[in-house]
């Protein structure tokens, strides 16, 4: 490999296993463009009938939360128990609610 070889773009692959389900992250592939990325994703990740639909997204387009912000982002939700149905007492006689 020559040292000036351009790095081929990295893509994240999402697969919908069957209609009715959401696309789920399956892995990554390399491709110079989006059309070939879809084909590569098909050839690499759906060889055993894993999917009915594919998304490919340039990895660089993903904006991630910073793990150092984990506490300020996610801990405040821990004590909001009134958001969960079990917080409310409804007599059994009322039936399923």
């Amino acid at each position: 490999m020559s040292n000036n070889e351009t790095l081929t773009q990295l893509w994240e692959v999402f697969i919908r296993p069957s209609n009715g389900l959401a696309h789920k992250h399956a892995g990554s592939i390399h491709s110079a463009d989006s059309e070939m990325a879809v084909q590569a994703a098909r050839d690499v990740y759906t060889r055993r009938g894993e999917g009915t639909s594919l998304w490919v997204v340039p990895s660089s387009a993903i904006v991630a939360s910073d793990p150092r912000d984990k506490e300020e982002l996610f801990d405040p939700a821990d004590d909001k128990i009134y958001r969960h149905p079990s917080f409310y007492n409804i007599p059994d006689e009322v039936g399923h609610m």
Binding site: M1, L7, T8, G27, S31, A32, D33, P67
Partner: protein, 329 residues
């Protein structure tokens, strides 16, 4: 894992005690480490080296079997073999993706393979000379690999563990197709059976070497185990493999080429004769029958593919420019 217990890994870390203790506490609590999490340099380096070595092994591992694709004896066997080799390419790809989550590009680690700096499993430096070797590779080499890979599905690094789950799921047919090939040979003519025995004779010991040096000799086992990258020791895995495999050989009516092989009532596993570690290290250092050819084949594929990759990148750039131009008009 095709990775032979990390030859020459550097586990050193320079972070302060408190950071390391906090990290270790997460590992001990069975928390998975994800790409953006803070991690000791040694942990990152160990992973990059191990996962890359594992990926290289999958890629180089395509070559001995590829040698038989055009000569497979039936169309059914040919299709199964292509599908298996293709899976190995896929596994290499998943693993390179896991390396990339650690900030090292596939191109970088590929360069280390091509230059001969990075290691890959030495088993692939042995030649596949008869059709029975394709059976033996599936049965023994993939069998040993699966033994190594199952615990890696619980490895502390999330992307590696997830890649291994996919690999193990796909690999379940590999060992079976190899064993089935040998079953056919052993039920066939004397010549076919002799071919199977010869393959077992040549692949048995190299397969046992795949688990890496004895625990007493292994320099980096303990840190990897502490970090829960490696979860079962080389010798334990090897013992498990032998115990599972010997009855399978008996079922085939083949003889395991180890006169000292003996069932041990106390450990409920087989004791084996001495492994020829001189041979192991000699092959690791480049003196196997096929070392040179394997690297040459990888370099040739890479070099001859350069213009294709350049063309794909050039086309992508031109397309973007055309789109921008259209948008501007």
């Amino acid at each position: 894992m095709y990775s032979q217990g990390l030859i020459g890994a550097d586990d050193s870390t320079h972070e302060d005690e408190e950071f390391l203790a906090r990290f270790q506490a997460r590992i001990d609590a069975e928390e998975k480490i994800e790409p953006n999490d803070a991690m000791p340099q040694g942990y990152r380096k160990t992973l990059v080296r191990q996962i890359a070595q594992h990926a290289h092994s999958e890629i180089v591992g395509m070559l001995p079997e590829g040698n038989w694709v055009t000569r497979a004896p039936t169309l059914k066997r040919k299709a199964a073999l292509i599908a298996k080799i293709q899976d190995e390419g896929g596994h290499g790809l998943y693993l390179y993706s896991a390396v990339e989550t650690l900030g090292v590009s596939r191109e970088q680690v590929t360069q280390e393979l091509l230059s001969g700096k990075a290691k890959y499993s030495s088993i692939f430096n042995y030649p596949a000379i008869t059709w029975a070797d394709i059976g033996a590779i599936g049965w023994l080499v993939d069998g040993a690999a699966i033994m190594n890979q199952i615990p890696l599905c619980r490895c502390s690094y999330g992307p590696y563990a997830r890649a291994m789950v996919r690999v193990c799921k796909e690999e379940s047919f590999h060992q079976r197709q190899g064993y089935e090939i040998l079953m056919m040979l052993c039920a066939g003519s004397d010549e076919q059976k002799a071919m199977a025995q010869d393959a077992l004779n040549r692949w048995w010991w190299p397969s046992l070497m795949m688990f890496g040096p004895h625990d007493s000799e292994s320099t980096h086992g303990s840190q990897s185990e502490k970090w829960k990258i490696k979860r079962i020791s080389n010798d334990d895995l090897r013992r498990k493999f032998v115990t599972a495999t010997v009855p399978q050989a008996e079922f085939l009516g083949l003889e395991v080429p180890d006169p000292e092989l003996k069932w041990n009532e106390k450990t409920e596993s087989y004791d084996i004769g001495p492994i020829d570690w001189d041979e192991f290290w000699s092959v690791v250092k480049g003196n196997g029958v096929m070392n040179k050819e394997r690297l040459e084949a990888r370099n040739k594929a890479w070099d001859e593919g350069a213009w294709v990759r350049e063309a794909a990148n050039a086309f992508a750039l031109k397309s973007q420019e055309r789109e921008q131009l259209e948008a501007a008009q």
